[in-house]
């Protein structure tokens, strides 16, 4: 199962692109990237999820982790989540603390 994560930093906006499957085995890499984004002092975190096919509960936990790390003032948006991923996020009720945005 493949997973890739890429971080771009500009104008104090951190963009993390997720590709493949975010689960217990890949969440660690996502955590590290969130740490990097937080360390850069970004004021907004955009997660591009167009190519994220699956998110397990470990992946949801990463989003909680991101919320913690970035602080309450930072807006976190997930852009272009596929239906299964958006469903997982909505089911857990996380769409209240993280914005789900169509691409």
């Amino acid at each position: 199962m493949t997973f890739d994560v890429r971080l771009r930093l500009n104008e104090r906006v951190a963009t993390i692109e997720l590709v493949g499957e975010l689960d217990a085995s890949s969440a660690g890499r996502f955590h590290d990237t969130i740490d990097e984004a937080a360390a850069a002092g970004s004021i907004e975190l955009v997660i591009r999820a167009e190519k994220l096919e699956y998110m397990s509960s470990a992946g949801l936990r990463s989003l909680v982790f991101a919320r913690q790390k970035m602080g309450d003032d930072v807006r976190i948006a997930i852009v272009g989540a596929t239906e299964p991923v958006a469903h997982t996020i909505r089911l857990a009720g996380f769409d209240h603390s993280i914005d789900l945005i169509d691409a």
Binding site: S57, A58, L60, Q68, A92, G93, S97
Partner: protein
Amino acid sequence: MLQTNVLLLDEHRSAPPELLKALDSVGAVVRIRTPADVLVVQHGQLPTTEVLLAYAGLSPHTVRAVARRLDDEGQRPTVVAFAEHDLHLLGSHIHAGSDYLVPPFYPDLVRARLRDCHERANFSRTMEDVTARAELLSYERELEIGREIQMGFLPESLPNPDGWEINVRFRPARTVAGDFYDVFELVNNRRLALVVADVCDKGVGAALFMALIRSLLRHTAEQSGLQSLIAADLLGEDAGWREQSRAIPVVGATPLLNAVVGTNNYLTRNHIRQGYFATMFFGVLDPLTGNLVYINGGHNPPVLVSGEGKDPVLLEPTGPAVGVIPDGTFSLGYAQIGPGDTLFVYTDGVTEARSMSGRFFGDDQLLTELARAAVRGEELLDHMDGVLSEFVGPSEQSDDITMMAVHWRLPGERRDGRRVPRRDHGQDDH
């Protein structure tokens, strides 16, 4: 005799000819390097080395650095210092734990010394293996103890109210699990609490939080509710709820709300940094009427399977996952279980089970299979078990799987699910 790989260490890449001749005649493979050669070489590029033969003129410190470098690559050579004339140089090396080799370098003597080194190296490797295995065993034992302790956080047996059958399948993917279930009596045995929950993530962390969350839920539910059997006061501002509360008696709603809201507050107050949360279905059942009041905290919707072939009813979330959102809002849901119906509660290990080709079992297939199965509890679980293992095939189970079936028997339905035949049918009942 086994071929011995010797790494000869000398600042000038030279060695006494007698020594080289002896090594050659005993079949040792000798590579001569300076300490710097070894230290700068890239990872994985060092030759296999059983014996590190170091000229005694090098400092023990340098020799140790080279030995450590070989250690890093998983090699554990025996360190042997040699000298040709300046035998006094050997002292500090022997002091540092090295073996030694001195002239005359007769093949027989060198061979004997190399054999000693070889055996010692083998022995120490065996010792390391034994230690590593012992360590692994002790971890496994600890994990096994963890598993046993965790099993103690699941109910020893399930209550058995008149006319009802409650069955559970619990299949952890690893030794310890993040899933759990619970069934216990509430409100002076007038109500039955039904809990199925899934702590996010896997392994020991999830297992620790499982123990905490299960205890908070059960303790709070058991300790509350006696002071006020009806939760109307708590929810006085919710007009919609008042509507329903008039229609359906909500004894048991107080312990339910207290348990879920209390657990959410506790987790968000004390553990939010750790980022663990649980999705859960917590239902309170009146076994006399089949009335069910529930909170679904971000959990896969349980399915109410009709005994009369009506469309299944999904008990959708009434609040977020528990433990993430401070002051999260949880409302009550209501359902009516009728005689012959079965409530099927499960965790995402079911819908996210994967086939060999990586396909997910999915919500649609779940509903299809539930419709196809006999509605009775045990048979329904058997059916789902069979369908899931066929779907997954030989792939490894990747997530904990928990399924609970709560079935209200039809009047006349026996415990094994068959109808008691009427006398006029003239059949045996077996």
